[in-house]
Symmetry: C2
Subunit: 322 residues, 2 copies
């Protein structure tokens, strides 16, 4: 057990953070500052990060990793294998997760997927042989990346962890304990499906509508028409979750509306991704939910409509004439 | 009967055109050029139209009414009462239709509503006492207004007429005959509900999606996701129509898709209205259909979602800080 490994030699569990977006930078830096060996596996910007270090502005604090202390590479083979691998890439790259994670963790490593949407944990289990626990990590956080190794943490930050297989609950407890020691609010749920669908109750209405309507959360909730649409979408997601066997009470909708009313106005990453011409996480956040609910006979027509509009808006620009 | 009145004295039926947008200008000018007395009741621009006349570019022809021949006013009391009143305003002004049309027609006049959406004929019947036939007029036309008394007719132009009450079918035939003599393709249907809902099968997907996605009809049909959404929306409208007793065959969806594939790429007026900050015809095109279908137990969730998003996008801008 990794717990024994840590307590036996007194060392902190080592972490490889895959992806240096806002989420990866925030939690990886917190873990590093708390004394964990942290390695960074990034698609681009490795040279800049190696040369300039990492800096995260988090709730008024400046968290910094000096260049001499940064262990960063673009290939897993160039990094030591870690006890825990945190997948903090966008889901749009999940098609090559197996390749990306090969060798990133020690034999029996825990892989924690810090993404939105459905389905990534199953992909990890299928494509990364030799993995121990596979955890879902749901990040309730407002944070933005500003450049290679640079991020700003604006608000919230709690992480909910849940294991793909319930016998791996201890691994979820271990990662949660590490995060808490690093100053991150962390909770563990035993039902990954419930955890993922609860997050979708928020992501499905707000990610899509904020992107399509170029609006922040507060504007959507202040308008009667879009507030009703948000509520209808939440109902649709809850009905899909319940039909798929994930027990989310119908009253969760009003909880989520109230929580968002109380939130600082926020632009979900999908809005920023659309504005910047980056790929949108439509498969993981929308299609998987629609497909899962349809298999148990529950249509999600509003969710499907949103997905189609997002897919249109996010389509690659035509090549310029030559 | 107006037919007798015309044939008895050999004169052409007189028309008051209410609203000098693209639709009013196009059909009113055609009728005037064909020899009908045409009077214009406009909300704004009466002085400019009186001074400069009316000019419509229609399929390569320049149709012109000289200033000396223009009869235009901003109040119905300032115009002679006509045999036929054509309502060519946006539905967003339908709240004051009774007031707008008072005295515009002779006793027993025919009122023909050249608008999209549902419900305007019933409003006219209820609010304009002394009216004879009330007709729906469905204009399948691509045309744009360029300024007071100026419009361009780009493509199509057929009008389908249907009476609110079937006993007024002869009045629909008369107006259709006048339009045909003026060079307009015109048809008569005996079922106004079928006529209006058939038009909605096109307007509900394309008006809203073209506006929300800032796209022309061809772009929506070329993308697999939005093409499927257009088809789903059409299915939803057809199901609503059928439940409400209007017999539109399910195959009408594929007819409409094929017809739009064959059309020149088009920007529906709702897209232009949104871009120009003008009010959107959400009530007449979306809400009435959703309400009608809901009353007979058929939900239209995609249509409702579109309406909510349009209402958000079309909301009045906040007042500037003082």
């Amino acid at each position: 057990m990794t717990t024994d490994r840590m307590t036996a030699d007194g060392a902190r569990r080592s972490y490889t953070i895959v992806g240096a977006g806002a989420v990866g930078l925030l939690y990886g830096t917190r873990l590093a500052v708390a004394g964990h060996p942290v390695r960074w596996l990034v698609r681009s910007g490795a040279d800049t990060i190696a040369a300039e270090g990492i800096e995260v502005q988090s709730e008024g604090r400046r968290l910094r990793i000096e260049p001499a202390d940064v262990v960063v590479a673009s290939e897993p083979g160039a990094l030591p294998a870690s006890d825990v691998v945190v997948v903090a890439t966008k889901t749009t790259a999940n098609g090559r997760l197996g390749e990306l994670l090969a060798g990133a963790g020690v034999p029996g490593a825990t892989i924690a997927v810090f993404q939105n949407g459905l389905g990534a944990e199953e992909v990890v289990r299928a494509q990364v042989p030799g993995t121990g626990a596979v955890l879902g990590g749901l990040c309730f956080v407002c944070a933005h990346r500003h450049g290679p190794g640079r991020a700003e943490h604006l608000d919230y930050g709690a992480v909910t962890l849940a294991p793909l297989e319930v016998e791996h609950l201890p691994a979820a407890d271990e990662v949660a304990a590490d995060l808490r020691r690093a100053g991150v609010e962390a909770a563990v749920l035993d039902d990954l499906g419930v955890a993922r669908w609860r997050k979708l109750v928020w992501n499905i209405p707000f990610n899509g509508l904020c992107a399509l309507l170029d609006a922040s959360t507060d504007a959507l909730l202040a308008d009667a028409a879009t507030r009703a649409l948000v509520a209808d979408l939440m109902d649709e997601v809850i009905a899909g979750a319940r039909a798929a066997g994930h027990d989310i009470p119908e009253a969760f909708r009003d909880e989520m509306l109230a929580a968002t009313d109380a939130m600082r106005p926020y632009d979900p990453s999908m809005k920023l991704d659309l504005a910047a011409g980056r790929p949108l996480e439509i498969d993981a956040i929308y299609d998987e939910a629609v497909r899962t609910a349809r298999e148990v006979g529950v249509p999600m027509p509003r969710t499907e409509a949103l997905a189609a509009m997002l897919r249109f808006r996010g389509r690659p620009a035509p090549l310029p004439p030559t």
